[in-house]
Subunit: 348 residues, 4 copies
Amino acid sequence: MAGRKIRAGVLGASGYTGADLVRLAAGHGALEITQLTANAHAGKSMAEVFPHLGRLDLPRLVKVGEADWDDVDVVFCGLPHGTTQEIISSLPGTMRIVDMSADFRLRDPAVYAQWYGHEHRAVALQGDAVYGLSEHYREEIASARLVACPGCYPTATLLLLLPLVGAGIIVSDGLIIDAKSGVSGAGRGLRENTLFCEAGEGLSPYAVAAHRHAPEIEQELTRGAGRDVTVSFTPHLIPMSRGELITAYASLEGGACAGDVRKILAERYAGEPFVRVLDEGQAPRTQMVRGSNFCDLAVFEDRIDGRVILFSALDNLVKGSSGQALQNMNIMFGLEETMDLGQQPLFP
Amino acid sequence: MAGRKIRAGVLGASGYTGADLVRLAAGHGALEITQLTANAHAGKSMAEVFPHLGRLDLPRLVKVGEADWDDVDVVFCGLPHGTTQEIISSLPGTMRIVDMSADFRLRDPAVYAQWYGHEHRAVALQGDAVYGLSEHYREEIASARLVACPGCYPTATLLLLLPLVGAGIIVSDGLIIDAKSGVSGAGRGLRENTLFCEAGEGLSPYAVAAHRHAPEIEQELTRGAGRDVTVSFTPHLIPMSRGELITAYASLEGGACAGDVRKILAERYAGEPFVRVLDEGQAPRTQMVRGSNFCDLAVFEDRIDGRVILFSALDNLVKGSSGQALQNMNIMFGLEETMDLGQQPLFP
Amino acid sequence: MAGRKIRAGVLGASGYTGADLVRLAAGHGALEITQLTANAHAGKSMAEVFPHLGRLDLPRLVKVGEADWDDVDVVFCGLPHGTTQEIISSLPGTMRIVDMSADFRLRDPAVYAQWYGHEHRAVALQGDAVYGLSEHYREEIASARLVACPGCYPTATLLLLLPLVGAGIIVSDGLIIDAKSGVSGAGRGLRENTLFCEAGEGLSPYAVAAHRHAPEIEQELTRGAGRDVTVSFTPHLIPMSRGELITAYASLEGGACAGDVRKILAERYAGEPFVRVLDEGQAPRTQMVRGSNFCDLAVFEDRIDGRVILFSALDNLVKGSSGQALQNMNIMFGLEETMDLGQQPLFP
Amino acid sequence: MAGRKIRAGVLGASGYTGADLVRLAAGHGALEITQLTANAHAGKSMAEVFPHLGRLDLPRLVKVGEADWDDVDVVFCGLPHGTTQEIISSLPGTMRIVDMSADFRLRDPAVYAQWYGHEHRAVALQGDAVYGLSEHYREEIASARLVACPGCYPTATLLLLLPLVGAGIIVSDGLIIDAKSGVSGAGRGLRENTLFCEAGEGLSPYAVAAHRHAPEIEQELTRGAGRDVTVSFTPHLIPMSRGELITAYASLEGGACAGDVRKILAERYAGEPFVRVLDEGQAPRTQMVRGSNFCDLAVFEDRIDGRVILFSALDNLVKGSSGQALQNMNIMFGLEETMDLGQQPLFP
C-alpha cells in the first residue's frame, strides 16, 4: 500500500449514510474516493445531490453497472437492504468490502429469510462475512474480505450489553431495550412519517416488537451469553436528525450492584478510543456525541432491588454507520484504527 | 350556582401550567377568572407575561397576599411544589381547591418528607385531599374540597396501568416504565438544561430512578393492586415543547395475551370521553393529542413470551395538568364533565 | 337557517389545510359536516388519515365524483391548485363555496395563466369570486356565492400593508417583503425538501422572486393604492410546523413617522376581533398566534431616515387558511363573525 | 516556531463560542491549549462543563487572574463584551490576541460608547486592533498583535456586500439587511427567550433597528464604499441551534443585472477556500454549512426592476466566530490559512 492511497468506491452515495461516509472518507489521509454510485441520481455530481459537499473533488455519480472496479481497492456499500447481496456477489474477489446494509449481518439464512421476507441471494458470501462491531471483532475484521457493519441500534446495544452478558453479571433473559432514534435513521427516501410536520414536535414508537434489528441483537447476545437470548426491543422516533439512545433494563445476577456493572464496562473499554464509560450519576445526552464516532455508556441502580438501568448513546450516522465503517476499514488495511476519525462532537 | 358564573382564582398564573389553565378557563362558559397571582411578575398584566393571551379580559397579576378571596369560589394552584401547602392552608374553608402542584398527591407524610426533603406543612389538609385522576376517582372528586391533580407522568401511567393491576392481568412486580416528556414539563424557570441549544436536537434521561413521580405512581398502583408495588421509572427529556409518552413493559399473569389486555382497557374506558384505546397494531403519537385533553392507550404483544408492551400518550400541559384540572372542576361543581374541554388536537 | 345546521362539505380533506378546517368546523355550533372528499385516501375514515381527529363523528372520505351534493349547503375546497376550478364549475349553482386554493384569487385570467402555466378553466366563475380577506371585503363576502380565500402570505401581508397604501402613508414603490413560513405551508405531499432531516435545524429561501403569492399581493395592493404596485417578495422555509412572519420594509411618504403608521393600523383594526396591533417596542412572535385566528401587527422605526419596518405574524393554517375560511363562512351565512373561532393560541 | 507548538490560551472557555474554539483548536496540529479560563465554572474540568469534549486532554478551567501567561503565545478571547478590554489591556505585550468579543471591532470610540453604553476602557489598544475579516484584511491580520474578529452577522453581511459596494455595482444607500440566526448566537447564559419552549416552533424579530452589529456593518461598508453608509438591519431568532442567513435587498447601479453581481462575487472569491458563490438559481441553506468554516453566497434578480436579492449563509459559531478566529490565527502565525479548518459540513 506504500506510496499510494487506498482507492475507495461508495455504492449508494446518494443516501444519508453514503453521504456521511463520503464526508468522512474525503478527509481521510489514506483514502482516495474513485467511484461513487447512485440509482436515481446517476449522472449528477455529488454537489448537486448534497450541496454541503460542494467543495470536495469527487467523481460523478454513476449507475452501479457503470462503475469501474479496476479502480477500487475497497468498496463501502450504503445500498438499500436486499439489493446489496447481488451486487456484492458480482464484485471482483480481490476487492474488500465494508457493507453498511443489513444483508450480511445475520449469520443464519433462515433467520434472514424470516425477517427480510425472501431467501438470501448470496448465501455463500455469508460465510465469509465478519460482523463488524469493531471493539469486539477486531481480529476477525482485520483479515476479513467482507465486513458487515452492525445496524445502528445493534451497535449501541451490543457495546453496552455484550460485555455484561459475557461476564454473566446481568441475566440474559427478559432484557428490555427501549430505543430512541433521530429521523435520519429512516434515510432520505420520501415517506410520510419522516416529513417535518409529522416527525416534529412529538414522538412515537414504531415497528413495535417487529424491528429487524432485534434478531441481529439476539444473534450477538446469544453468542456472547452462550445461550439463547430473546430481547424485548421497542424503537421510538424522536424529533431530531441525528442521535440514538438505548435505555436497557436488566436483572442483576447474584449479589451484583450497579457499581460492579459500571466497573466491568470501564475495564472492558479502558483502552478503547471511541467508547466513553460515564462516571456514576452522569447521564448520557445524544447531543454530546453528535457528529462523532463516540459511544457513551452509563449505568444506574434501579429502585427495584436487583435491577439495573443501562444507557448507550451514539450518533446513528457515525458510530452507528459511516464512522464505524471507516474504523473497520482502518483495521482491515492495517492503519491506525483511529485514523482521521477524531472529529469532536458538534455541540450545540 | 344558577344565574352566575363560578368565580375562579389562579395561583401561579405566570408559569406554563398556569397559563394553560387560563387559556382553557377563559373559554369555559361557566367560569369567570377573578384573581390571578404571580410572584416576580406581580403588578403586570397577563398580556405582558404571556402575549398570546393578550386579547383576553383578565385581572392583573397580584401577589398571593394581595388576592381578594371573597371574590373566589374555586382556586386553581399552579405554584411550585412546597409553597402550595402553606398558602392553601390559609385559604377560606369554603373555597374549593384544584391543586396542580405535588403537595397533596402523596397520602403518606413520611413518603412526602422522604422525596421532597422536608416535613409536610399542612398534614391536616392531606386527609381532605382527593387524588384527582378523574376517570378513577370521579365520585370522591365530586364531593372533595381539595383535589390534588396527579403529576403528568402519573396521569399517563395510571390511566394505562391501573385497570390492569386492578384486574390482575399483569404482574405488579417488575413493572418497567420508560417515560418521555417534552420540555414544557420543566416549566418556564431559567435552567441550563432547558435552553434551546441544550435540549434541542438530542435527548437524554434525567432523574434516573430518582424522579418524584415514582412514589406517586407506586402509591396508586399499590392501592389498585392491593399489594406493595415498586416500579422502575426512567424519564427522558425529548426535544419538543408538549407531549408525553409512557412505554411500559410488563409480564402477563397466567395465559393472558395482549388482546386480553387491550380488551380490558377498551371496556374500562368505553364510555370515557377523553381516553382513546387504539386498535391492534396502531401506535400512539404524541402529535395526535397535542393541545387536547385526550390520553391515547395502546397494547402490543412482546417478542418475549408472556410479556406485553404498553403505551400511553398525552399532552403534559393539558390532560397532564390544566385540562385534567378543569375536568375535575367540572366534576366538583356538577357540570358536564366534558364542558368546554372539547378542543381537538392541534396537528400538525 | 333556523332549526337546522348548515351542511358542509370539505373537498380535499386529506391535506393539512383540509384537516385543520375539519378540526375547526367540527367544533362549530352552526355546522354539520356531511361530506368529505379525498383522492388517494378515498374509502378510508378520517381517523385513519388523521388519528388526532379520531373521536369526531365524521363521514367517510369519498372521491369527489361520489359526493352527494344534495346534502351540502356550503363547500370548503382544500384541493390542489388547478383541480379546483373544474370541480367547482360542476357544483350545483345553489351551493356556496369557500375556496382555500389559489384558483380564484387572481382576477386577471392572463396573470393566472402566466403564473400557473395554463389557461384558467373556469373564467366565467372568476367574475363571481370575491377575494376573501375578511377584514377588508366583508360586505362583498356576505353576499358572494364563491369566496376565494387569500393565500397565507397575502393574508399576512395585506392585513399589514393594505391600510397603509390606502392611506398613502407608505410609498407603494419598492416595497420589500421578506417572508418566513413554517413547513406545513408545503402540505402533506411527499417532497424531499420538507423531510425532517432536510427542513430541520436550518433555514433557506425558496421560490425567490418567483412565488405565486407575489402577483396576488400585487393585485390587492394595486387596488388599494390606486396605482400599479410591484413588490419584492422572498419566502423562507423555517424549521417549525406552523407560523408565518412577514417583515416588510417601506419608505414613508412626506414627514410621516413610525408612530403615524402604527396609529393608522391601530385605528383601522380597533374593532377587529382577530387583528392585534402591538404596542410600540413590542415585536411579534409566531409562537403567540399558533393555533389561533389572530394576526399580530407591529411597526418599528428604521435607522435609515424616512423608512419603517413592519411585521405581521399569523398561523398559516388558521388565519392563513382554515380559520379565515370559517370566518368567511360566518359572514356569508349571517352568523356572528367570530362564532367558534375564539380558540386562544397554544403556547408553548 | 519550528519544533514546538504554539501555546494557546482561551479566555471564556465556558461559553458556546469558547467551547467551539476549543473543539477546533484541540484538533489543530500546530496548537497546544495550555490555559483555559472561566468565571463561574473556574475549578472545574472542561469535561464537566462540556461533556462532549470529555476525551480531550485539557487544562482545568481557572479564573482569569490565575492564568499563567508565561505559558501562552496566543490568546483567544470569548469573553462577554465589556470585560474583554480590561483583561486584554493587562496581558503581556508580547502575546498575540484573537478577540471574538465586540470590544475592539468599532474603530471610533464615540460610536462604541453610543452603542455599548460606556466609554471604551482601552482606547489605546483600539489603534492596534485589526478588523479580522480574513478574506478582506489578510495582510493587516498577518502582522497584527490584536485581531478583532467580526461579529457573526457582520461576517456574513460583509463577505456578501463589501465587494459589491467596493465595485460600485449596488447602491450603498437604502441597503436592507434581513438577518436570521440560530439560538446559539445568544450564548449559554440563562435567558427566558432562549428556553426551548420559548424559541422553539416559532420565530420572531429582536433588537429591531437597535442591534449592535449594525454600526459594525456600517463602519466597514462605509470604508468599502468610500462614503457614509447607513443600513436597515433586522435580526430574527430562528428555531435552530446553529446557522445564520442574511437576505439583503439592494438597488443596482446603472444598467447592472444580477448576473453582473454574481460575476463580481465569483471573481472576488475565486481563490478563496471558504467562500462558495452558488450558481444561478441555487439558493443557500444553512444546513449546508453547519459545523464548517464555509460561507455560501447567492444572487437573484428581483421582480422590481433594477433591484437584486442577495444571500449569505454561514455557521454563526464557526465562520461567524471560532472558525474565523482560527483562520486568523493561521494567518497571524504564518501557517497555511486553511490548516485544520477543513471539516466538511455536518448534514443532516
